[in-house]
Symmetry: D2
Subunit: 270 residues, 4 copies
């Protein structure tokens, strides 16, 4: 289980959200509150959109709470849409290639959760990935496999549909192998302008996911920033209940230019 945040809005320095608030993502890397894994020290990553169409990507294996490079980069880079992730491994190795976000062309993807019985279905999952995408599989995590499977299922033209087919595939493989452990998914995808977040579980305990306004949270923290912005996070930046809304289970949230819409997320067999 991991912690992450995704921001969309007026350009701000990454450090404003990653480092400055009292319960910032970097603080969550050391002491998460809404996870059974309070320590998220198995690497981190940030992906951000700047002046190129392809996003920047910086991932490393040290704990985020103590990485000077991350701090300096976050202080220098401004972005209108970025994803950040601190990792608590559920079994796979600590390696840059296993850190989130993952990138394909203009696309970024990150995940918190776990595929029950992943070791049992890993090979079959890999086989479902289109060869062109498989070439870019660099690590061994379930999350990266989900990304390339979603691309195989048309993520670039239909994000909710591709994720629904991906989740359906995974549930089918789990069933075939007799896996009883649950599938728990908390995914974010972006193409630089739009952002999608899916909260889903095969049981009744999906990872937490909150949505709020970064500008409100920053204002509360005595900081400026944001504007027409949306912040999606594993857990809130602060204790002000009014600032955060829990995303419903089995739903997909779409953020475009500050507008948020939500709809049901239902796995689709195909």
């Amino acid at each position: 289980m991991c912690r992450w945040l995704a921001y969309s809005g007026s350009p701000i320095f990454l450090s404003r959200l990653l480092f400055e608030p009292e319960h910032s993502l970097i603080v969550q890397s050391l002491r998460a509150r809404q996870s059974v894994f309070p320590t998220n020290g198995d690497g981190f990553g940030v992906g951000w959109y700047g002046s190129r169409s392809e996003p920047g990507l910086f991932r490393d294996v040290l704990p985020a709470w103590n990485d000077d490079n991350l701090q300096s980069i976050a202080e220098q880079i401004e972005s209108h849409l970025f994803l950040a992730h601190v990792r608590a491994s559920t079994g796979t190795a600590t390696a840059r290639a296993n850190c989130h976000p993952f990138r394909w062309g203009e696309w970024l993807f990150m995940h918190n959760g776990a595929i029950g019985g992943y070791e049992q279905i890993r090979r079959e999952l890999d086989l479902l990935i289109d060869p062109d995408f498989y070439l870019n599989r660099r690590g061994t995590t379930d999350s990266e496999a989900m990304f390339y499977l979603a691309l195989t299922h048309g993520l670039e033209t239909d994000v909710p549909g591709a994720l629904a087919r991906t989740v359906s595939d995974i549930e089918r493989l789990m069933k075939e192998k007799g896996v009883t452990a649950p599938l728990r998914v908390s995914v974010v995808v972006s193409d630089s302008r739009r952002l999608w977040a899916v909260r889903y579980a095969s049981d009744d305990a999906p990872p937490t996911m909150y949505i709020g306004r970064a500008s409100a949270a920053l204002y509360y923290a005595g900081l400026e920033g944001g504007g027409n912005d949306v912040l999606v996070m594993s857990e809130p930046l602060d204790d002000v209940d009014d600032n955060w809304q829990l995303v419903e289970s089995a739903s997909v949230v779409t953020v475009i230019d500050g507008d948020v819409t939500s709809s049901a997320f239902v796995p689709v067999s195909h």
Copy 2:
């Protein structure tokens, strides 16, 4: 604040104490119980005596709980005397040179604690180190400075005396700079045959330190190992009170061939 253990006794595989018990040192790296810093993820180190007079040293910057190299090395290496340390930085960088133990010829040294106002006295502390030892200063921690200052004060011929003079120097420098934060020290030193441990603080809250028999703790854990052995640790390996004795504050414990003696530790101005 950090967590450490020091073992002296019949040769055992390092993994027996580092990985196998339920509350092993590696578990303590993720969830220490007797420290205000439960996470000790800023690097680790092991120093061990084998068939050469100079000890082996393996230190790295990843969290100990997730380092395959540490696990494999601990499973392969047997030693009659070894020191192991998991680090929670009190301000200095995560770097191999800042990981414990430190080595000088046949000597190993590790520390848990902090020098109050270290930044204010760092330069003066460095100046007290003999030039021959200073050449080997590789990092920037207060702990490494203490080691080279203790060597300057004759550690190689009188461990308790050298540490007493070192602590006195530090307290004097702190006083000169008007530092009010306390000095807290929990040190282990070895020369391959003997082991010394000092527990001391300038206030009434020295870091915890326990002494026990590894063989008793391993027996309780359903494991074999040890023999004529002594284990000194920041916190116990298990919950069996009878297995562990709290080392008194302001004392130095000496372990030679399984015999443990204890005496008062009093800083000595000189």
Copy 3:
């Protein structure tokens, strides 16, 4: 292209061969002489057999020429059979999981060479690996895939046969995809007592491979060590022609208790 050595004989400290000779493997990591890639700085690894049946494994991503941990471990560990490898990536990432040797139970495997058009056949190659072995695929190199494919083909009971079937599979996949770049292989496998080395290429330029006596090379270097020993290396430790014999192309060398036998290596379709 990489550089490696494999030693079998009386127990010696790893450092004796890795660090002490003038043209040691660590020196070759910085300045190889018989390779078009003189710099082998993309990680390293050592695998050694000690008192357990499973070998030890230490791999890291820094250049071998400047890694204090490698030096200390090599100075402390004695082994009767060990493999060491310095890596020059042919395209895949610098990551511990991509460093050699690879380990499966009691087995170690390392490789120097390249599969032509690996990116084009990578997925098909992965599909040939038995699911039980596939679970242990940790990285993305062609070398690791070869190891798990050889295990799939019965490496544990017939090393030369399994490698012959593996090479045949690879050549067939290359042909199917129209790959014209050559397959070049220089492989070492061990189970702690025996050691096999295969030199082969689909064109007339297999990687270099030499066989000699470590004791002779060490004697020339003014060092002691070895005894009833055999050393197989990518390139010699010294310039004494009499100390080294080039392994013939398309051959497999078997070393058991100091005895060396050689036979033809012919890929076997199946």
Copy 4:
């Protein structure tokens, strides 16, 4: 000995100079041509000025030729003035804190060269550093000591003068210790708007240093970029002699808004 470049001019992406030209700095990290140390694989660093007064800093210990993070960051960040460095250690450890550039507030500093007999004068050199600057000494290199000594000597108000006093101090300490090995210096300093480069040696073999126009070199390479720009480098980006001018020994070059002036550099005792 290391390789570096410093750019001042119209904002360009860092990758334009670090990665794209045929003999780019990253290529020089693997195969430098004008150095007795062709391999510069002991870490790297970039420092750049963006929209804040304090520069960004990204340094890591892997070889620059194989670091995905460096490539992505260089592709995303545009800067009007940046410094980049690939390191070949002359004895001190591979560690982030030993990588260049070094930063103090708005200032960046990097170096190629060596202080003869550094180990003999290291402690005395450290003692000359003002306590306020000494607090920020994070590593153990001679280069970092030079930077903090230059700050002690007033770098912030008089760069050439502070460097002249620093070099004089070092030569005096070397003389006092009877060091006969030479001092060789190739330094760059910047405050975001201005850039100073000093080439100097106590013998007749200072490190190479060239000055040219990035726009001319990029044009030759079929690339666009630069404008009113100056590029200072350890060795040229290409083989077009007209693009590069060797900086005279014992001189200091000053670059302000595209204007280059040069004057003699003479150590000043004080």
